[in-house]
């Protein structure tokens, strides 16, 4: 800061007036006096007066001092914030940035949790230990409010953001950020383990983790350091260079030994984290210019198989890399590595499909959605970005996600095609990107996505997605919706016809589901026995699953309370490291880590999951499934499933989602 007299007032407003404090206390008093039914009449005034005080640190502290009273006076009575034990840390960030009175209520709620954590007030179902954990999680999830800079949104609404930052700073002050770095690193580990294509959130977290002060454990520093190297300067040489451009100049003058050394580091970091940086791009561009295949294999950390594949299709690999490896899209390097490991260029339909995309005449929609998500002036063409996106999805079939859209169907389809028919996927992509339409058949009659409206998302998409999803998913969503309409009113779940017609011949034609009409459950035992007899290796008569099976799950919250329906794909059934049979599945919602209560917690790492897979013990999965496809000709003996197993799973289901239904 300069020492000249300041000409602009500081953003921090003046301290609270005695009148504001008095008015807040009076409003709280009036609320306390009110009988329970009229609490809602007096709550807004408390929230309003608190909002005035939130304008300054001193004011925030005044409200904080009263926080132990909030539950007893009924500040949250009859509202969504009433029960602290039901609060979800993941919703806090959104609440603090919301509109109207909600940011203030959210802040009051956190202050209440602070008072519970500090032991100033107590709650029968929410211990001070739980309160502390809650607040730590909130801090971990809102690092940008703690340490982050301004965004477009925060510039537009500076007051709301300043208040939220004040709150986070107060939490940090009281709870201390001890343990925060470890928690954030654990979170980054789990994200990285799932190898999503869209890594923007991971990158943001790594960026912010840098700001957390924690010298307690050198191991933590080392863990963080690995991520910083993967996403920033990877080596001492790169650090010395200071920028990717300088790094390239340094490389031009480096010895062969030095080059090999750099290649090893970037390659290993890529395999360890799935992440890459503009330095990695600079290195690859250097190698591409020199045509050094051997170094390229090291820099991509290819296995012998991958290296052999690359060498065989050397021309194609170099051509595609020169086109797509670009600072603006550095994240695709991992997809490239994985695509080579899958030896996909050996398939002419993939090789030709990618070439076709390179020269494709893009329709305005595809141009627009692609360019909008590239940094301005980055100098990469829309075609190159789309090819890069295609390479990423081919390399990471399980890394695709639905983002903030209700389009799990589309994400599952892209994943399945990438795995089992990549040529078809590229063909659909070309059609959508060029013609702005894709064509599907439903029971003999064609449906053109460009000619119909509708869609589950009703045409409203959050395009924070990978480049391929951005172009294809809006089309797939309309096609799916249209097929569902055509198959409606047949007296059976329309997915029976729609799933095979949408995904393709990999989905068996028979579908069975629990009868859930009118909030009742019937025929559950038969359903379970059939699931075991078609999916469990002990009872399926040797007909093991080959292709992903799109299935429906009943989802519950951490307390085991029924939330709703969700679609996932079973990828495979196999034994884990302990010999336990697990269901490995693809959850298109971008976050495989879940907690469905009653001990059911899908894991994403540690039980032999392939990156991007979630897994559950077979019986836990069985207790949540309500619909699946199967092949009538490939069914084991349903009666062979022991009654104890059926009873156990049934009991589990009844205690969980089953509570919301009447069992006939």
């Amino acid at each position: 800061m300069s020492d000249t007299p300041k000409c602009t007032p500081r953003a921090e407003s003046q301290g609270p007036t005695a009148r504001q404090e008095e008015a807040f206390l009076q409003a709280l008093e009036a609320l306390e006096q009110a009988t329970p039914i009229v609490k809602p009449k007096y709550q807004p005034e408390v929230v309003r007066r608190a909002t005035d005080l939130f304008e300054s640190e001193e004011g925030l502290k005044i409200v904080r001092e009263q926080a132990h009273r909030f539950d007893s006076v009924g500040l949250f009575h009859a509202g969504p914030w009433e029960h602290p034990d039901r609060l979800l840390p993941a919703l806090v960030g959104g609440g603090l940035r919301a509109e109207g009175q909600y940011p203030s209520i959210e802040m009051l709620s956190e202050l209440r949790v602070l008072s519970i954590a500090a032991g100033e007030s107590s709650h029968s179902k929410f211990s001070s230990e739980q309160a502390l954990t809650f607040l730590r999680t909130v801090m971990g999830l809102n690092l940008e409010l703690l340490y982050g800079g301004e965004t477009e949104e925060s510039r537009l609404r500076p007051k709301v953001y300043a208040r939220a930052r004040r709150l986070l700073a107060l939490i940090e002050q009281e709870v201390s950020s001890e343990g925060l770095l470890e928690q954030v690193l654990d979170d980054i580990d789990a994200r990285v383990a799932q190898r999503p294509i869209d890594v923007s959130l991971t990158l943001k977290m790594i960026e912010q983790a840098k700001n957390i002060q924690d010298d307690s454990d050198p191991k933590l520093a080392a863990r963080l350091d690995r991520y910083l190297k993967a996403t920033g300067p990877p080596t001492p040489l790169a650090k010395k260079a200071g920028s990717p451009t300088n790094y390239r100049n340094f490389l031009a003058n480096a010895t062969n030994h030095e080059i090999e050394n750099e290649a090893k580091v970037v390659g290993k970091l890529l395999t360890l984290t799935g992440l890459s940086s503009e330095y990695h791009v600079a290195f690859l561009q250097h190698v591409l210019r020199k045509d050094e295949t051997g170094i390229l294999a090291i820099a991509l950390d290819l296995t012998e198989v991958g290296q052999a594949h690359m060498e065989q299709y050397r021309e194609k690999v170099f051509e595609l890399m020169r086109l797509t490896i670009h600072p603006a899209t550095s994240w695709i390097i991992y997809g490239f590595q994985q695509m080579l490991e899958r030896m996909l260029l050996a398939r002419p339909e993939v090789s030709d499909g990618l070439t076709k995309l390179v020269n494709l005449d893009l329709c305005p929609t595809a141009q627009q959605v692609t360019k909008k998500h590239l940094p301005r002036g980055s100098g990469i063409s829309a075609n190159a970005a789309i090819v890069g996106g295609a390479i990423a999805i081919l390399g990471q079939p399980l890394g695709v996600g639905q983002g903030n859209n209700p389009t799990c169907q589309g994400a599952r389809a892209l994943s399945l095609w990438s795995l089992h028919d990549p040529g078809y996927l590229l063909q659909l992509l070309a059609s959508a990107a060029r013609d702005d339409t894709v064509e599907f058949l439903f029971e003999g009659s064609p449906i053109l996505s460009g000619e119909i409206g509708g869609g589950v998302a009703d045409g409203k998409f959050d395009l924070k997605l990978d480049p391929v999803s951005r172009i294809l998913v809006p089309h797939l969503d309309r096609i799916y919706d249209e097929k569902m309409k055509r198959a409606a009113l047949r007296g059976e779940d329309p997915h029976k016809w729609v799933n095979p017609a949408l995904y393709g011949r990999w989905v068996p034609n028979s579908l069975t589901s629990i009868n859930l009409t009118n909030q009742t459950v019937s025929g559950y035992e038969d359903f379970l026995r059939l699931f075991y007899a078609t999916h469990h290796p002990l009872y399926d008569g040797g007909y093991d699953l080959v292709y992903p099976n799109p299935v429906g799950l009943l989802i519950t919250n951490v307390h085991g309370v029924f939330l709703g329906y969700h679609a996932v794909s079973i990828q495979r059934i196999a034994e884990d490291e302990e010999g336990k049979v697990r269901v490995y599945f693809f959850n298109p919602n971008n976050e495989g880590r879940q907690n469905w209560g009653k001990g059911v917690e899908p894991s994403v790492v540690g039980h032999w999951e392939i990156p991007g897979e979630s897994s559950l013990p077979f019986e836990h999965f069985a207790a949540h499934i309500y619909a699946f496809h199967y092949n009538q000709m490939e069914v084991g003996d349903p009666k062979a499933v022991p009654a104890e197993i059926i009873d156990e799973v049934t009991a589990h289901a009844k205690e969980g989602w089953g509570q919301a239904f009447t069992w006939l």
């Binding site: 008015a23 309003r48 509109e99 109207g100 009175q101 609404r157």
Partner: protein
């Protein structure tokens, strides 16, 4: 505050019979609790859950459905021994009328309620009873609206080049200013949506507009408040300032005439009038429910009694005179004036609240209800609804108040 026992005694003795409160109003329930008036809350579905958890006797009812099952509400209330019904919202007025026809054995209660609900019938009735009203017509179509507009302008001898005489179009049965269209030209009529018809067309009344909140028991005015509109739909002062106050005797007479015309014996009415340059009163319309625009809050602030409780006490034929005398203060005894200002964003897009420091620090400033705007895009105004918040002010000098609300009406509270 002193708790006052009231409510009808049942034939069998000591236990008081409950009153049915039609519509969800926390303020009314609070007043009932405070005065030990037992009640049954009749609310739309969804509002019942929290009330039940708090031990309130609740009946859920859909006030928008009228069919052969409508009788069920009467039966449900009779099962609970309800003595009479009090409407709290415009949509519940005829329900209260229908219920009270049978509960209070008042054969005209329902028809009277319909008068309140149909603005054309209301005006016709007022006119037949010698109350001065503007020219009005029930309009079925756009063509009839245009004809009305032309007729009024012809009668006023307006020349082509002069600004036309404005008229008003209002839905036949909606609360206060909801759906109200101020027509200044033929173009205004042609651009209306088709569903604006049928409606009521009225000539424009110029002058000082005000409303009266008259609490009536056994055919006598127990308390008469006058709410002076500083700017209709934006700001008002309770009670009226000295200039209008001089007209109190005339206004009281007008209210008595209105009570007679509409056969009002117990309860509260909320009519609106215009006082013209010559000191003549013109009747606008009358409602028989809790008024909008936070008028009750202003009454409580200025006069110091709870108008929700007043409404309940006056609606009950069995409330004793002693209770009422003890409850109401003298009209002239108030020390302060209360005002409010409804705030509408003045831009097409708003991002955050910018409350003026000097107003916040003003000794007349009571409180406000504004938060950060809920959506950046500002919706167009419908009726006088959709305001973003209200500023409440109070003080001893009515002119300072008037000056404050007029100044901040022009102020941009959002940036």
């Amino acid at each position: 505050m002193e708790r006052i026992a009231s409510g009808g005694k049942s034939a069998r003795g000591g236990k008081k019979t409950p009153v049915a409160l039609l519509g969800y109003s926390l303020e009314t329930m609070e007043a009932a609790k405070h005065h030990n008036i037992p009640f049954v809350a009749v609310v739309p579905e969804g509002f019942d859950v929290a009330l039940k958890e708090d031990g309130v006797d609740v009946v859920t009812w859909d006030f928008y459905v009228h069919n052969q099952n409508s009788d069920r509400l009467y039966e449900k209330l009779v099962e609970r021994g309800v003595s009479h019904a009090v409407p709290l919202y415009e949509e519940t007025v005829e329900w209260a009328g229908s219920l009270n026809t049978r509960l209070l054995k008042d054969p005209r209660a329902f028809q009277r309620a319909l008068l309140f609900r149909d603005k054309a019938m209301m005006k016709r009735n007022a006119q037949m009873n010698g109350i001065r009203v503007g020219v009005f017509e029930e309009i079925r179509s756009r063509e009839e609206a245009l004809a009305f507009f032309d007729d009024i302008n012809e009668a006023r001898l307006r020349l082509q080049e002069e600004a036309p005489e404005p008229v008003h179009l209002k839905p036949l049965s909606a609360a206060g200013s909801v759906g109200h269209v101020f027509v200044r030209s033929r173009q205004d009529i042609t651009s209306l949506p088709d569903d604006a018809f049928p409606c009521l067309a009225e000539s424009h009344l110029a002058g000082q507009e005000f409303s009266v909140e008259a609490f009536i028991h056994k055919g006598k005015i127990e308390f008469m408040n006058i709410t002076e509109y500083v700017h209709l739909g934006y700001s008002q002062i309770v009670p009226e300032t000295p200039k209008l106050s001089k007209q109190r005797p005339k206004i009281r007479k007008a209210i008595e005439k209105l009570m007679k015309a509409f056969g009002i014996v117990n309860g509260m009415i909320h009519p609106e009038y215009f006082l013209d340059q010559e000191g003549e009163l013109h009747f606008g319309e009358v409602a028989a429910r809790v008024p909008g625009g936070h008028i009750f809050e202003l009454i409580q602030r200025a006069h110091g009694f709870n108008p929700y409780a007043a409404l309940l006490l006056c609606s009950d034929p069995n409330t004793s005179k002693t209770v009422l005398d003890r409850f109401f203060p003298k009209e002239k005894d108030h020390k302060i004036f209360a005002a409010n200002l409804m705030v509408y964003p003045r831009k097409a897009s708003v991002h955050q609240l910018q409350f003026p420091k000097e107003l916040e620090a003003h000794p007349y400033m009571d409180r406000h209800t504004m938060f950060e705007p809920v959506t950046a895009k500002v919706a167009e105004r419908v009726g006088f609804g959709n305001h973003y918040g209200t500023v409440f002010l109070a003080g001893e000098d009515p002119e300072t108040l008037r000056e404050l609300v007029q100044r901040y009406e022009e102020y941009d509270f959002y940036e």
